[in-house]
Structure formats: C-alpha cells, structure tokens
C-alpha cells in the first residue's frame, strides 16, 4: 500500500473543516468578489439585450447565411455543453472509481456543469428562426391532428439529451448539497438564514438509516450520470455526424467529442479553481496543488486524445478516397479558414504538452494560462467543425463565407456573463466544497490512509 498524499492539509478537526468551508457564506463579500460580480452582471444584461434585438429583428443580424446555416450560437452551444462534462465526470465517474481526491473539487465542478448546461441550453432555442414556437420541438398532444415530432432528427435527440442531462445533473448536485445545507442551517445565527437553508435542506437530520439510503442513491445517480454524460456529447456530436456534409459525416465524432468535452471541461475547472483558491485562501488546504496536478494530467491525456482525433480524421479523409471528404479537410488546413484550424491545433494539441513537466503541472500561473488556451482552442474546434464544413460542401457554385457580425461577438461574450454571474453567486451562497464528503477523508494520508 503506497503512502498517500494528504487530501486535507493541516490535520484539521471536524469543526475547523466546517468553519473553513462555510466561511465565505458567513462573512461579507470581499471587494474582489463584488467587482467581479458586478462586471459579470453587466455583461449578463448586455447579453440579454443582444438576444432581445436578435430575436425581435431576425437571425439575419448574425453571421449565419447561405450556405453557412449554423454559426456562433451552435458553436457556443457545443462549447458550453462540453464544459459541462468535466463536472459530471468528476462527481460521477471518479466517484465510481472511488477516487477520494475528487471530494474537494466535485461540488464546484458540478456547479460549473449545471451553470454551463443552463448557458448552453439557451442557444438551440434562441438560434431558431421563430423561437416563440420552440415548444413544437416537444412531442405533446395537439389540435393539429395531432401532428407529432420527427424522432429521426438529431436535433430532437438533442432536446431529450440536453434536458435530461440538465435535470439529472441538477438533481445530483442538489442531493449532494442537502446535508451541507443542514449544517449551515444549524450554524445559522439569524432566523432568515435558518429558515432559508432549513427549507433548502429539506429537513435533513443525518440518522444512520438516512445516510445508508443517501449513500445508495448517490451511488445510483453516479451510475446513471456516467452513461448519461457520455451519451449527451455523443448525441450532440450526432448533430454533425448523422448529417451528411463532408467533414461532418464521420464515425469518429462521438468519442472525439466526448474527449474534447472532458478536455475543455477540465480546462474550465482548472481556470475556476485557480481563481477560487485566490479568492478564498482557506480553500487552499482542501483544493491542494496535488488536486490541480491530477487535473492537469487529465487535461494532457485528453488533449492527446483530441490530437489523435484530428490526425485520424485526416487519415480517414485521405484513405476513404472520397473526393468531397478529402477536399473538406484540405480546405480546413489550407483554405480561407486555415487560421482558425491552426489556432485550434496549437491551443489543443501543442500547448498542453507543457504538462509533461511536473514543474509546470504544479505551477498555478502556468496551469491558469494553459487552461485559458485550452478554452479558446476548444471554442475554435467547434468553429472549425461547424463553419469550414458548411462553407464549402458538394456544389462549388454555392460556396461562401461566414459573415461574422458584431452580434455574433455580443452573443459569444455575453454568454460568459451569464455563466460567471451564476457561478459567482454560487460561491457566495452555497458551500463550494462538500462538507459531508470531505470529513470522512480528512484522515487520508495521515495514518497511512487505510479506509
């Protein structure tokens, strides 16, 4: 049995742990937090206005056109959905693998998932020509015959996948929060706090019977979320893979998208966690440098997977002998949108290679910068897939370019406003680390970590 690194530093008592973690909830917001929150809020409002203008005037305001029918909105949708995946992965998959280190990051990662999915979920609804009729995408009985929906359309699969994913991950997250809410309830100094968190805790009382059911449910949800999270990005990839454009119609998409999702997701987790560690120093003992290193390892691994996917795409395009397919990929790397392709390659494949070196894996500034690059790179991956495949397909007569407009920029930037607003609120109002989950592992690494 190998000696484990300590998961919680400074041999804390149960009380200390509780106090450390709930500290951000019980003190007044710091200037830094306030500043970030207000700017995020402003961005969010800007986002709402931009959407309002686009929806009321018409999709024509965005760069989408003929032949490039999908643009920023779909790209950013896939981007955010991808971000979401790391959360579920950490909380569910690593839980199944009994990875104890997950406990301290799981909560925040899940929160990220929930907010990312919320941000993403809006896009498919907004990007339609007549968003006010989006409810037609759901199979409900109606007075048109009734006229149902087309279950063969990948977009409909999306509707089911994304809404299921949103629901389940939200439930999963909330169930995890329940005992911690109880803790906060019991620490509450004033009545309002007690009532609010009391309500949120659903009257949790932590008897042994409860705990045994609770742990079973947690295990089940983890078991359900794992295939779910894989299915969601698989289905998102079907939007492209099941259609028949050269560059979209490829069988490698599902695994490639999932890997990419995890890749970008961990990128985002690292970005956020480095910030959280700065914002709330007391978390440094729980989200240790070891945690960060493990995640960086995952980033590097998945980065390699994605790189492999890029490579094999090209190989298959050449090997298939399909002229359209070949052209599509040559066009990606050498065509008018080559720049976006090479941004993608350098951000997703080259830069993460830094993490071969332990020194960089454990350096907060380095990992922060790299994670940012990863996020940029992954957005561009979706840009490359969506736009470069559409803008030159079968018939050269209707090849064209994407007409990027300032509304595209507004929508893209604005979506970050929405995400950050939610996330910052979460940091202040919810325990950012799972209290009940950290306590059992507080001794790991102190007495040779039996358990």
């Amino acid at each position: 049995m190998i000696k484990r690194n300590q998961l919680v530093l400074g041999n804390k008592s149960l009380k200390q742990i509780t106090e450390d973690i709930v500290a951000p909830l019980e003190r007044l917001p710091s200037k830094g937090w306030l500043g970030m929150f207000l700017s995020a809020k402003a961005l969010f409002l800007f986002y709402i206005i931009a959407i309002a203008i686009v929806v009321s005037t018409g999709m024509g305001l965005l760069g989408v056109n003929h032949p490039v029918g999908w643009g920023t909105m779909i790209i950013t949708f896939v981007f955010w959905i991808g971000i979401g995946h790391a959360g579920t992965l950490i909380s569910a998959v690593l839980f199944l693998f009994r990875q104890k280190w997950r406990t301290s990051v799981a909560r925040t990662a899940e929160a990220m998932t929930v907010f990312a999915v919320m941000t993403a979920g809006l896009f498919p609804l907004m990007h339609t020509g007549r968003p006010w009729l989006d409810f037609w995408l759901f199979p409900y009985p109606n007075q048109r015959g009734p006229l149902w929906v087309n279950f063969r359309s990948p977009l409909l699969w999306d509707v089911f996948a994304v809404s299921t994913y949103a629901t389940v991950s939200m439930v999963f997250w909330y169930i995890g929060l329940v005992p911690d809410f109880a803790t906060i309830r019991d620490r509450a100094k004033n009545n309002i706090r007690r009532i609010v968190y009391g309500a949120l805790s659903l009257g949790w009382r932590g008897t042994a019977k409860n705990w045994s059911h609770y742990e079973m449910l947690y295990l089940l949800l983890a078991g359900l979320s794992t295939p779910l999270v894989l299915s969601v990005h698989t289905i998102v990839s079907f939007d492209f893979a099941v259609s028949n454009l050269p560059g979209w119609h490829t069988t490698i998409f599902p695994p490639y998208f999932v890997a990419g999702a995890i890749f970008s997701g961990f990128g985002m987790v690292v970005t956020l966690m480095t910030l959280v560690r700065i914002g709330f120093p007391e978390f440094k003992d729980y989200v240790t440098i070891d945690h960060m290193e493990v995640m960086n390892k995952i980033i590097m691994t998945t980065g390699l997977m994605v790189g492999y996917a890029y490579g094999s795409e090209f190989f298959i395009a050449w090997y298939s002998g399909n002229a359209y397919e070949r052209y599509a990929f040559i066009n990606r790397a050498m065509g008018p949108y080559a720049w976006s392709y090479w941004i993608m390659i350098s951000c997703n494949v080259i830069i993460p290679q830094l993490f071969w070196f332990r020194k960089f894996r454990r350096s907060i500034p380095v990992m922060f910068v790299v994670s940012i690059f990863v996020n940029i790179g992954m957005w561009f991956e979706r840009f490359v897939i969506t736009v470069t495949s559409l803008h030159r397909d079968f018939m050269p007569s209707n090849w064209g370019m994407y007409a990027w407009s300032r509304y595209d920029t507004a929508i893209l930037v604005g979506s970050f406003g929405m995400f950050l607003t939610l996330f910052l609120l979460y940091l202040r109002l919810f325990p950012a680390i799972s209290i009940a989950e950290v306590k059992p592992v507080k001794n790991v690494g102190y007495e040779g970590g039996h358990h």
């Binding site: 699969w157 439930v171 005992p179 209290i435």
Partner: protein, 173 residues
Amino acid sequence: MASWKYGMAGIFETEESIIKAAYKTREMGFKNFEAISPYPIHGMEEACAIKRSWIPYVTFGAALVGLFGGLALTYWTSAVDWAINVGGKPFFSLPAFIPIMFELTILFAALSSVGALFYACGMPKIDPPIIDKDLTCSKFAIFIPNDDNGYDESKISEMFRALGASEVKKAEF
C-alpha cells in the same frame, strides 16, 4: 414519522465512540433507536443492523418503464398514429429512436430514485426538532425513543455515560 418522538439522547464526540455506542445500544435490546452523525460513518450499518437500501429496485423498475415508454412513444407516434414518409426512411426506424429511449430510461430512473429517497427519509420535513446544533458539524448522537421496549431513562443515561457520552439529555426527535 408522522410526528416527533420523545426520548433520551446521548451526545458523543468521536466517530469511534458513536460506533461503540451503537453496538452497545443494540445489545441492550433497543430496536428503533437513531444514530445521528454529520457525515456517513463507515460501519454504522452493521452497528445499527440496517438492511441494504431498497432504492435500487425502484431505480430498475423506473428504468424499464422509461425504456419501454420511450419505445412505445416513438413507435406509436411515427408508425401508428400518423405515419409520414420522412426522407424515404421506414416509418418505424428503430435505430433513430434508440437515443430517445435511452434518455427517457435515464430520466425516469434518476428522478424516481430521488423520489424514493424522499419517501424513505420522509423528506421534505419542515422544521424538524434538533437535538444538538453540532450534530451536523462535529458531534454524534444516539437517540432512543420512549416507546422502545425496555425504555428506562435512568438506565439509558447510565449506559450513555458509561459509553463516554459528553452529554445526556431528554430530547424530542
């Protein structure tokens, strides 16, 4: 758990002592006592002789419902109720329906499991009595309701003290 019970509660400081206490309490012949802890404790199930949770059966059942519900929905709407020729594909194109069926399976399973938990733990509870504020933070407790057989306040408090309880009190739970 329609309404709250009265009884004796012993507060303990450490994980080890609470487990010991749980064993002892059971040996004393108490049946429906509660062991309360801020986090799930390894070995508490044996200590209190709690049977494995039945929630998985609910999950499985719900999953099946979701699966076949999905199949039924897709089949009925696209092949029976109003069969429309879409892209020359067969009316009942099963491969295309699998994602739907899968997602419904997961959804039903997950939600009804949570429902089951709520049922099992009687949640949501509004404003349940609390024996000690620290029980969700750093302390542990055993609560023996007064309707349990062989309920005797003096004997119980004596036992709790012997087990090293930091505090023994009459409580509502």
